[in-house]
């Protein structure tokens, strides 16, 4: 049984305070960008970015540079290249992303096996170490959250129209290529920065689960974005507190709390749907005229 004394002891530790702030900011950032990524069907893209980040870290170790410094430029270049590949190839996006992330994961493991001096644990890379978040990390995540908030607020019309229909967006003056690229680069940077705290395997949960819960609950886009970010932040906070007092791993604890939040959203939304049920909507076929 958890008592308030052990909770107070945990909260008094500076590393735990940094972890809680880091978790709150990372969770909010994941929920914020996830709200658009999920609607644009980029969930798998964030997963592929997470796995490829392992390759970035490994390359950093191989060339003897701090992996954190290598990770952001690597993730940005990687995201741009994958975006180009998806745009130019006639193969389905999910198949291409699967090829990319399996290959980068395999390459990362092969390279890591060559580095005899590597002392970092593979477990830490895979599941993250939010307790090791530094003050500098918090500043970087905070600045990134502010940048993401400003960008999404100013480009909300562009983001929504681009998600609904790219031609409609372009016809009314949205710079579609620029906004697609800007969002993907932003997502790549967020994934790269969050990897240290969340880990390669669990990063996509931070992007996908709070946004899916928000999607089930909300009926307005602006509210949906805010609720997704709030859910992301609060689930991370609760998960870390649970992890701190139970001494269980932090990343998986957060993901389990996110999942409980998602279940709660499902139950709540099924109730909402019963009250607001409308006649069955005609489905629109998506066909190409030419």
């Amino acid at each position: 049984m958890v008592d308030t004394q052990s909770l107070a002891l945990v909260l008094a530790e500076p590393f735990m305070q940094r972890a809680l702030v880091g978790g709150l900011l990372t969770g909010a950032l994941g929920g914020l960008l996830g709200s658009v990524a999920v609607l644009r069907e980029l969930s798998f893209f964030s997963d592929a970015l997470g796995h490829s980040a392992l390759l970035g870290i490994t390359l950093g170790i191989l060339i003897g540079v701090n992996p954190t410094l290598v990770l952001i430029p690597f993730a940005v270049v990687f995201a741009i290249l994958v975006n180009q590949l998806v745009e130019r190839s006639s193969l389905p996006t999910d198949a291409l992303l699967n090829i990319v992330y399996s290959t980068s994961l395999a390459a990362a493991i092969l390279f890591l096996s060559l580095v005899e001096t590597y002392r970092g644990g593979i477990r830490q890379l895979l599941f993250g170490d939010i307790l090791g978040v530094s003050t500098l990390d918090l500043i970087v995540i905070g600045l990134l959250l502010a940048a993401a908030l400003i960008y999404l607020s100013l480009s909300m019309r562009a983001q929504v129209l681009l998600t609904l229909n790219q031609d409609l967006a372009g016809a009314v003056g949205v710079q579609t290529r620029w906004h697609r690229l800007a969002f993907i680069v932003l997502l790549a940077v967020v994934v790269a920065v969050s990897i240290k705290a969340v880990g390669v395997l669990l990063i996509s949960a931070f992007v996908v689960i709070p946004a899916c819960a928000g999607r089930l609950l909300c009926r307005r886009f602006l509210v949906y974005v805010c609720v997704s970010a709030a859910l992301g932040g609060s689930c991370a906070l609760l998960g870390l507190l649970a992890s701190g007092v139970t001494n269980l791993p932090s990343g998986p604890s957060v993901v389990m709390v996110q999942f409980l939040g998602f279940l709660a959203a499902m139950i709540l939304s099924s109730g909402i749907f019963r009250r607001r049920q409308r006649p069955v909507a005609e489905s629109l076929t998506i066909t190409s005229s030419d």
Partner: protein
């Protein structure tokens, strides 16, 4: 005399290594309605996309409201905000958390970055008026993904009418609508076109509707095969030229 709203001159567009549209020229007189007809794969949607600057042109030029479309498809913001577009469909798979009123509000906003709370009152009033004029006011709080096909198309017209515009482009906007929904959409479009003074360019497979509503018809099969008034263009001989010998054209008695 009004100058044309749209001038297309010698336009060719390449897609997947082949010419999808070849040397097409035409003009849209102000407040006229022009239909683009032709078989599947004739380049109709490609033509529309190139006119809107969504696809690069191989040759030719496009002028909208006297302003040339740049090589990379850009137009000044004040010209771009005079254009409305109704696509065949929206990507509304699953539950999409966007209300009808929010969607229509994005039609009010001019191109470029903008804080969501800017001009809130003016924006809200324009949304209400647009929804009222299209008979969609009761739908304002519904999710876009909950609407039927006919309701969604009327909401798209609300998106177009929420601010004054001059050019409306529809790419098979009636695709997937049943007969009553199609009829209601057509009547609403005609009413708004008269009220707003829209110049309309639409791609359609519904030749009966094209005959009733259009001032000008462009028969496209990669090249412009015929153009002119519906009576001049939609003749059995020209339709067989355009669609091939397996087409049996007929006219509805009630409209013919």
């Amino acid at each position: 005399m009004h100058s044309p709203v749209l001038v297309v001159n010698d336009l060719s567009v390449e897609r997947s290594g082949r010419l999808a549209v070849e040397k097409v020229s035409f003009e849209l007189p102000s407040e006229s309605e022009t239909a683009v007809v032709g078989p599947n794969g004739a380049g109709k949607s490609t033509l529309v996309a190139a006119i809107l600057g969504l696809l690069p042109r191989s040759t030719g030029n496009v002028q909208i409201l006297g302003q040339p479309l740049s090589d990379n498809g850009n137009l000044p913001g004040e010209i771009r905000s005079q254009i409305a577009y109704v696509p065949q469909s929206l990507a509304l798979q699953g539950r999409f958390p966007l209300s009808v009123a929010e969607f229509v509000g994005f039609g009010f906003d001019p191109p470029g970055p903008r804080w969501p709370w800017r001009d809130r009152r003016e924006r809200q009033s324009a949304i209400e008026q647009a929804l009222d004029r299209t008979g969609c006011i009761d739908l304002r709080n519904r999710l876009l993904s909950e609407l039927s096909g006919g309701q969604l198309k009327r909401v798209m017209l609300s998106f177009c009418v929420v601010r004054p515009r001059q050019l409306l482009v529809l790419d098979e906007a009636q695709a997937g609508l049943d007969v009553p929904s199609n009829e209601r959409f057509q009547q609403l479009l005609l009413q708004l076109r008269r009220q707003e003074g829209w110049t309309v360019l639409h791609v359609s497979h519904d030749l009966d509707m094209v005959r009733r509503s259009s001032d000008q018809v462009l028969g496209l099969n990669r090249r412009l095969c015929c153009s002119g008034s519906p009576d001049h263009t939609l003749t059995p001989e020209r339709l067989i030229d355009l669609y091939g010998p397996n087409v049996v054209p007929y006219r509805h008695q009630c409209h013919g």
